[in-house]
C-alpha cells in the first residue's frame, strides 16, 4: 500500500473500550497510522491512550463527536495523508472491514465511501426507533439527491484528499455529520459510495445518542438540516458542481 492512511478515532469516556479498536487496527490494518482524539473525557481515557502508546490529540474542552472527528481530519490535512478512515472508539467498527472501504475508494474513484450495515443483511441489531430514523434519513436523501444511501448515519467512512480538504475548513463539518452532510456532499458533486460492512454492538460506555431527549433532538436537528440542504439544492444544484 503506497497511500498514507490515517484512522481517526474520536473518544469520549472510552477508557475501557479504546484498546479494542486500537489493537484491532494494529493487527488488521498494519500500514495505517492511528490518531485518537480525546474529547476532554471525564474518565481516564487519556491514561489508557498513554498506556497503549498510540498517537493522540487532546481537547482541553469537550467539542462533541463532530468537533473531535474534525480535529483528526485537520491533523490528517496538516500531515498530508491520502485517506482518512473515521472509526468509532467504542469497538463497534472492525479494522478488517475497513479494508473494504479502502479497496472501494481506490477502485470506484469515490470521494467518500460509507461502511453500510444495511446494504446487505448482517447480524447487526438496530433498535426499532434507530432503524426508523435511518430509513427516514435515507428516504430524504433519496428525494433530495436521487441517490440511494442505505446507511447515512454510519460512522465508518473513508475520505479522500478532496474531502479531507473540505471537511477541515471551519464550519464545513456540522454538529451531527450524518444524513445532512452526505446529502450536501452529493449535491455539490462529491461522489459517495457504500460498501457492506459488519459491525459489532457496543459493550461498554454510553452511546452519544443514549437517553430519550438526545435522539429526539438529533432527529429534529437532522431533519431541519436536510430541509435547509433541500432548499440549497433547489437554488444551487448543477451537475458536478463543487464548492
Amino acid at each position: 500500500m503506497n497511500d498514507r492512511v490515517l484512522f481517526v478515532i474520536p473518544a469520549y469516556n472510552e477508557e475501557y473500550n479504546i484498546s479494542r479498536p486500537v489493537n484491532d487496527i494494529r493487527a488488521n490494518f498494519k500500514d495505517a497510522d492511528i490518531i485518537v482524539v480525546n474529547d476532554c473525557s471525564k474518565d481516564n481515557t487519556l491514561g489508557a491512550l498513554k498506556k497503549l502508546d498510540v498517537g493522540y490529540l487532546d481537547h482541553p474542552v469537550n467539542l462533541g463527536y463532530s468537533g473531535a472527528v474534525q480535529t483528526g481530519i485537520k491533523y490528517a490535512k496538516r500531515n498530508d495523508y491520502d485517506y482518512v478512515i473515521q472509526f468509532d472508539g467504542d469497538g463497534q467498527h472492525l479494522a478488517s472491514e475497513a479494508h473494504k472501504l479502502y479497496d472501494m475508494i481506490k477502485t470506484s474513484g469515490a470521494n467518500i465511501v460509507i461502511g453500510s450495515r444495511f446494504l446487505e443483511k448482517t447480524e447487526y441489531k438496530h433498535s426499532f426507533f434507530r432503524r426508523l430514523g435511518t430509513k427516514l434519513f435515507a428516504f430524504l436523501i433519496k428525494i433530495i439527491t436521487k441517490k440511494k444511501i442505505t446507511d447515512p448515519t454510519s460512522g465508518l467512512q473513508i475520505l479522500d484528499r478532496k474531502t479531507i480538504e473540505k471537511y477541515s475548513q471551519p464550519g464545513q463539518y456540522p454538529e451531527f455529520p450524518d444524513a445532512n452532510l452526505i446529502a450536501k456532499m452529493l449535491l455539490f458533486g462529491y461522489k459517495v459510495e457504500e460498501v457492506s460492512c459488519i459491525m459489532k454492538e457496543r459493550t461498554d460506555g454510553v452511546s452519544m445518542h443514549a437517553g430519550i431527549v438526545k435522539p429526539i433532538k438529533y432527529v429534529i436537528k437532522n431533519i431541519y438540516s436536510l430541509l435547509i440542504i433541500f432548499i440549497i439544492g433547489i437554488f444551487v444544484r448543477r451537475p458536478n458542481n463543487v464548492i
Binding site: Y56, D58, Q70, K74, Y75, R78, G171
Partner: protein, 142 residues
C-alpha cells in the same frame, strides 16, 4: 409644552440607557462599535416628544390607538434585531473557539512529538550536547 408628560417615561429610560452605556464604554466594559445602536435607541426615546405629532399620525395610520405603544413596538423590533446580531456574533465566536481548540490540540501533539524526538536524540550524548538540546527545548517552549 414641548415635552408632553405622557412621553416622559421614554425620555427618562432613554437618558438612563445613554448614561449607562456611555459609562460602560468609558470604563471599557462595552465596545464603542456595539454601543452605537444602543445610543441610537436611547436618542429615539429621548427625542420622542419632538416627533410625537408624527407618531400620533403614524399610529392612527396603522391602527394603533395609543401612540406610545407604537414606539414600544418599534423598540421591540430593534431588540429583536439586536438579539439576532448577538446570535450571529455568538455563532462566529463559537466557530473561532472551535478552530482554536482544534489547532491547539494539533500543535500540542506536534510539540509532544518534537520533545520526544529531542529526548531520544539527547540520550547517549555528552554534557555539551545536552546543554545545547536544553537551549533548543527552551526555544521551543518560548
Amino acid at each position: 409644552m414641548l415635552y408632553n408628560l405622557r412621553y416622559m417615561p421614554f425620555v427618562v429610560i432613554g437618558v438612563i440607557t445613554l448614561v449607562v452605556f456611555i459609562r460602560h464604554v468609558i470604563k471599557n466594559k462595552f465596545s464603542e462599535k456595539e454601543s452605537i445602536i444602543w445610543a441610537i435607541a436611547a436618542f429615539i426615546m429621548i427625542l420622542s416628544p419632538l416627533y410625537m405629532d408624527y407618531v400620533d399620525r403614524l399610529a392612527h395610520l396603522v391602527g394603533v390607538d395609543y401612540p406610545p405603544a407604537l414606539i414600544f413596538a418599534l423598540l421591540f423590533i430593534l431588540v429583536f434585531f439586536l438579539i439576532y446580531r448577538q446570535s450571529a456574533a455568538t455563532h462566529k465566536l463559537n466557530e473561532r473557539i472551535i478552530e482554536l481548540i482544534q489547532l491547539n490540540a494539533v500543535y500540542e501533539k506536534e510539540l509532544r512529538d518534537l520533545r520526544e524526538k529531542v529526548n531520544t536524540e539527547t540520550k547517549g550524548k555528552g554534557k555539551n550536547d545536552i546543554a545545547e538540546q536544553a537551549v533548543f527545548e527552551e526555544s521551543i517552549d518560548a
